[in-house]
Structure formats: structure tokens, C-alpha cells
Symmetry: C2
Subunit: 359 residues, 2 copies
């Protein structure tokens, strides 16, 4: 019996994709072996990886000036790779702090010796909104932002225009959940484990000239050029995770592409936020309305003592992963691509019943 999975990530994946993985686990693409057993240098894996890079480019409308590469180590390794590659010791780079993950990226830049500068922060208001005015440095190596904050349930309505350096950013929790405007970006990365696959894969989209401009002399696995030049085959990439991502990108294409996915996600979010807003204060969204994330709907109960029974009751009814991030508590419903409208219906029904009983 499958549950309704509202995990913040790793999170829900499309059931049809999981079934496909199971079906071909002993014999993938007629090779007589599992994709896990196939050499990364085989023509089948090579073709699959190339296909996957093409899917990313096609879904996001990226031109030939972009490279799509497969890293490991999650966003946390990107937090170090970015300043190491582009700022270097003493190099100026700007950060917009919208919460936990942006804070970690900013702190890591300092660990790496960069002169990281806070161009804006919403910390004083508990990261409940996305800043819209910025104090940029004069010539930063880049301007860092986190596209969607899973912890506080905020996301950038649109990205800064005319920033004094290329934007770079963490798209982990809304990657492939809507169309992304990467026009002003030099690099965008995403841990796979929210919308596009199992943990262990970081998809990095980087403009080739930006990658090329990086500092020299870095360890190979920390230098973006290594991935671009070797087409992510400098060493063994996380083949299985790429394979699942490939199936999920296909699932997105079959669904009608990112416009359709975005429309579905907006509909799910509208339903849940709408219910919260009409609950007469029994439920209260934590993010400012203009900064609300369609991916991670964070809310509290007016009576916070009711949150524990609320979460326990939800779990009993097959709804898993609704607890807020351990750093903030409360409730969080993550509505990633594979979470259907039926899951949201189930949740709002439960929320209504809970309110009727306790309101």
C-alpha cells in the first residue's frame, strides 16, 4: 500500500517510473544486465547520459553555450565548489540569504576564503519573504541565490535583473517543477532528490565560458572544467541516479513538458494555500503571500499544541512527511512533481476534519 508522501526530500517519485525501474532491473535496454552493472564506458550508458543531458537542455530551453554535467556530493559540495572555482581566496562574491540553505552556502564561501558579501537577507523577519532590493558589491564574481527555500516555504517570484555579476543558484527543490529563466545565470545546480531522482546526483547547468573562467589548479573533482571537458566521465558518475532522472525527464516530457508540470503544481498549491487562507486562522501560512513556494507549503496551527496530534493523525491516515523542517517545526507539505492532486485532496479533507473536531 503506497502512502501519500509529503517528504521535503528525498521525496515522492512517479510510481510509473519506479515500476519501470523494477521491470528492467535484470536486463536493461537488452544488455543482459542491470543498469547498475553496466560499465559507464559502455555505449549504452554513454548514450543514456547524453540523452539525459539533452533532456535537461530541451526541457529548460538551454542553448549550446550551456553544459549539463553530473556531479556528486549534493548542494553542500556545490557550496564549496562555487567560491573555489570563481571567487578564490579573497575574491568578492555576493549572497542573498533567504534561509538555512543560503546561509550554509554563504558560510561555506567564507570557509573557502572568499570575501563573501551579503547583498540582502530576510533573516530579521525569519526568512518569511524573498528580498527585492539588494546591496550588491561592485564587481562580484557571482551573485548567489537559493531559488526555493524548502525550510521556510519561500521561492523567488522572479530573479534579480541587472545584477553586477552572473547569477548562480541552488534550484534543488524546484528543479523541473516549473520553467526556469536562466538568462542571467552562469551556473545553476540541483540535487536530484526532490523532483528528479534518488539522492546522490547533482545536476549542474553551467555556461561553458563561465566554467572556463574558473580558477586553475583545483583538485580535479572540484573543478567544473573536469566535468565539462570529460562530459561527466572523468570517473564513474552515479549511473543509476542518472538513469532514474532520465526516466523522470521522460515522464515530464510525456506529461506535456514544464508548462504542464508548472500548471499542475500551481493548481496543487492554490488548493492547499486556498484552504489554509480560508480556515479562519485555524491554519496559518508562514511565508509572506508574495513569496510563497508552490513546492513546500509551510504552515502552523493557531494552537501549536495541536500540531503533534495533527501530524500523528495524518500519519495514521497514510500521509507521511508532513512535519516541518527540524530547525523550525510546524507543518510542511512538500508538493513535488510526483505528488498528485489526490494527495492534496486527501490532505485538505483531513485538515478540514481536524479543524471541525478541534476548532
Amino acid at each position: 500500500m503506497r502512502c501519500y508522501n509529503f517528504n521535503g526530500g528525498p521525496g515522492a517519485l512517479p510510481q510509473s517510473v519506479l515500476e519501470r525501474v523494477a521491470e528492467e532491473i535484470l536486463d536493461w535496454r537488452g544488455t543482459g544486465m542491470s543498469v547498475m552493472e553496466a560499465s559507464h564506458r559502455s555505449k549504452e550508458v554513454g548514450a543514456m547520459c547524453e540523452e539525459t543531458q539533452g533532456q535537461v537542455k530541451s526541457l529548460l530551453g538551454l542553448g549550446p553555450e550551456w553544459a549539463v554535467v553530473f556531479c556528486q556530493g549534493g548542494a553542500s559540495l556545490q557550496f564549496a565548489m562555487l567560491p573555489l572555482n570563481f571567487a578564490g581566496p579573497g575574491g568578492v562574491c555576493d549572497y542573498v540569504n533567504t534561509g538555512l540553505w543560503a546561509t550554509k552556502a554563504y558560510d561555506e564561501a567564507k570557509v573557502c576564503g572568499a570575501a563573501a558579501h551579503l547583498a540582502a537577507t530576510s533573516e530579521a523577519e525569519a526568512f518569511t519573504y524573498i528580498p527585492s532590493s539588494f546591496d550588491f558589491s561592485e564587481r562580484p564574481a557571482y551573485v548567489y541565490l537559493c531559488a526555493n527555500n524548502t525550510v521556510r516555504g519561500t521561492r523567488w517570484p522572479s530573479f534579480p535583473k541587472n545584477a553586477p555579476g552572473p547569477l548562480v543558484g541552488d534550484f534543488s527543490s524546484e528543479f523541473m517543477a516549473r520553467r526556469h529563466d536562466l538568462t542571467d545565470f552562469g551556473l545553476a545546480f540541483a540535487g536530484a532528490q526532490k523532483n528528479v531522482g534518488p539522492a546522490g546526483l547533482t545536476v549542474v547547468m553551467v555556461r561553458k565560458d563561465f566554467a572556463e573562467s574558473g580558477k586553475k589548479g583545483l583538485p580535479h573533482m572540484l573543478d567544473y572544467r573536469t566535468y565539462v571537458k570529460n562530459d561527466s566521465m572523468y570517473n564513474t558518475p552515479p549511473v543509476f541516479s542518472i538513469y532514474v532522472a532520465n526516466l523522470i525527464f521522460k515522464w515530464i516530457e510525456d506529461a506535456g513538458g514544464l508548462s504542464e508540470i508548472e500548471a499542475r503544481n500551481e493548481a496543487k498549491a492554490k488548493k492547499l494555500y486556498g484552504f489554509i487562507d480560508q480556515s479562519g486562522g485555524f491554519y496559518r501560512g508562514t511565508a509572506r503571500v508574495d513569496s510563497r513556494s508552490p513546492m513546500n507549503v509551510t504552515f502552523r496551527l493557531a494552537d501549536e499544541n495541536l500540531e503533534k496530534p495533527f501530524l500523528e493523525g495524518a500519519k495514521k491516515e497514510g500521509m507521511v512527511g508532513l512535519g516541518g523542517h527540524r530547525s523550525v517545526g510546524g507543518v510542511r507539505a512538500s508538493l513535488y512533481n510526483a505528488v498528485g492532486l489526490d494527495a492534496v485532496d486527501c490532505l485538505t479533507s483531513y485538515m478540514k476534519a481536524f479543524m471541525d473536531k478541534n476548532g
Copy 2:
């Protein structure tokens, strides 16, 4: 139809494990979700990871002074992490060069600014043997070795005694293929994609005091302490790969543990090397007899022009991955744990028939 998979890695995995993965792909351990969809902070994943660490310790007989942690980035990232953590800029560290992967580790140490010193190398004889005399530095931060060379088909018969620093090493291609004597080691790592799972997981065994002795101020994801202190949960670990490794460790336990696995591997290797040695020179092993690897049996045909038809014919009969590493050519049969004696029988039958026809 499953093939006989002699890939050098990623390579063959036990069929029963793959079947188990397929069986529980929609509902893992009664959670109502795939292991790929489960939060790494859930009690189920936490328990599974802890169990897996326990399996490694138990199979290898490691005491409480050891930590088992889960990294990403493969051996190639370890090549950088070792000098960054333990040598630092200008720090002396010793390397024994037994081939491609040891060379890469040695070169990376220099990239990281360490004063890497070659304590021994078999390069002059095409890496056909494992050195037994060493020119160690006086007080190296560590002595690096590669336990098994997949490219040249050599492996250490026993490790150096009385080295002037802790041994550290790359066990990727014979990890869990025999009992390992880690007495003199400070750290041993292994990419999972040979004997224990899908690519994307690096199992690192590190003595806690050694990890603690590392340089300060490193990026978090490059500091072994981050993994030890957070029990590999600083960020999302590669959960699916850990899960498959867990099932494979169980498969090893059920088979009777590493003594039994080692005996099986020795039997397979003995059969194949025996056949090669009795072929009257038609086939010729490339590694010196005292340094032969039971994992990767490398050989040439006396008439090298016959190698291409040999490999093509083998593939037609369902034997895949027999080409030598792209840097050396020839033939390589990788006999990882999941490659059965039946695969070796099939191969030697084919080799006999090929010799009868072409000899």
C-alpha cells in the same frame, strides 16, 4: 536473458539482490514508499544506514576505534581529500605507485600542494608487479597504496609492515572480496561499484583518531570529521546505493562471510589462471605470478591480432566486458564476487575452443 558480466566496474551484482530491489521498489520495509523516496532523516533510513555501518565493521572485524562513513565522488575525490586532510600544503606523504589509479592519487596529492614522495614504483616494468622494498620518507603523514590494480591485474599479497606512517589505501576493486588486514591502516576507502553496489557511494573506513588529526578549516564536504561527527548525515547521503550495499553485505553474510567469499574468489581465479598457464603460451598472463589479482585477470593472446575476434566471439556467446582497460588493451576478466564459477567455466570453455580453432 542475463549475460556473463566480466566488467571491470561497474560490474556484476548478485541476481538475488537485484530481484529483492525490484520486489520492494514500491514499498520498502512497510513504509509505503520506495527507499528512494524515504527521507534520510526517517527512522527507517537511519536504522538501515547504521545497520550497514555495522555490517562493514562486523565483516572486516573492525573495532570501536573505527568509523565507517559514506562519501560520494568516488576514489577520485578521496585522492584529493587524503592530502587535504592529512598532509596539507607542503606536507610530506608517501605513495607506492602500482599503476593508473595510484598514479592518479599521487598526482592529485601534488595538485593539492602536498610534498608527495614516491616510496616505490613498478612503472619501469609496466606495473606488472607489486613492489616489496620501499624508500619511505622519515615521517610521512601517511603511506598510500592501491590494494588491487584493476588495470594491470595486480594486488598486494600482503601490506608493508613497519611503515613510518599510517597506511591509507584504495580498496575499491577488492573491497569485500576477501578478508582485509587493516591493522596498520589509518584509512581505507572503496568505491561501491565493483563488489558492493551501484556507483555513487564511497565507503570510507577511518580510524577516529586519524580523522580527528586532520587539518582544520577545510570545506565541510572535504573534511572527514564532517562525516564522522554527523554519522554521514551532514547532508543527504546516497541512500539508494547504501541500501543496495546493505543487501549485498547481507548476501555476503548469508554466504558465510568473507572467508567463504575469499575461498570462492580464489577458486575462480585459480581455474582461470590455471587454464592460461597451461595454454602453451597461446594465452599469457600479464601480471607477475606473485602479484596476480584474483579480481582482475589480465592476459594477452600470443598473437595480439586475434584479440579482437576473441572479444567479439566472446560477446556473441554472452560474455560481456572482457576488453582490457582502454589504457592497455588486451583481455581482462573481472571476477568480482557476483561472478560465479559458471561464468569462469563458460569463459575457459570458450578460450579452449578459440585456441583449438586458432592455435
